[in-house]
Symmetry: C2
Subunit: 155 residues, 2 copies
Amino acid sequence: MELQAPLDDRTRWSAIGHCPIEKAMGVVGSRSAMLLMREAYYGTHRFDDFVERVGIAPATAATHLRALTDAGLLEPSTYQDPGERARQGYALTAAGADLMPVVIGLFEWGVRYADGNDQLEYAHAGCGASVHVEVRCSDGHAVGIDDIVVRRQPR
Amino acid sequence: MELQAPLDDRTRWSAIGHCPIEKAMGVVGSRSAMLLMREAYYGTHRFDDFVERVGIAPATAATHLRALTDAGLLEPSTYQDPGERARQGYALTAAGADLMPVVIGLFEWGVRYADGNDQLEYAHAGCGASVHVEVRCSDGHAVGIDDIVVRRQPR
């Protein structure tokens, strides 16, 4: 990446406290939060299932599920198992679904560099080809790290 | 996402301890680690600059920079300012550069949902269009969250 003038003079600006990456990590920047989101993508709704499938303490799950709900990634939802009363669970919101590129990016990076398993893969239901994340510009060009400029947003 | 048989029976498998997302979050799953990576993308090499630009304590920066180096995202590099002796700093590795889709994904999500700033944007140096992450299959189709199946990797 290249910082475009006037951003190239780092003595004159700071990202602290307003960087979108920092803000996003304030919401989903813990292992527990990210794995709860993974479970929501995998179709988990029920509190006990989140606890068991992520492998964390109930109190930890409760804290993070509440924070993810407050931040708008999950919302309360009602489910009902056969023969049981309706219960309160959690469902993905549009904001939660829009975190998907981050989660798939972590999956890909983990497989390649962090000794992640090779048991599962994500594939396109339509054609069966495997799924991955790409960095592209809005004109459709594939963009590598050396092809990116960081600039002030045009007003 | 849809879990394909036999994965749809969640009582018969667990992701705990070997999920690539979990492994990746073990390495970069903290606000400090991710912001240090951001600074590495922005061209920071020197320890004091990482400390100042991320806004964390020197001891915290040292711990995280060492962990990121041990995990292979950064590597020791030598830099020399005019009139000073050569010093040890940090440079991106290929593994560090390959985390870029995650970081850009967090940037995008943060702008949209977490009150991230609208001061900066990432753009393609070649054509000037803004840069974003996309989820696609290897046949080139754009893939939404409802178009993904989770399957056992073919052997």
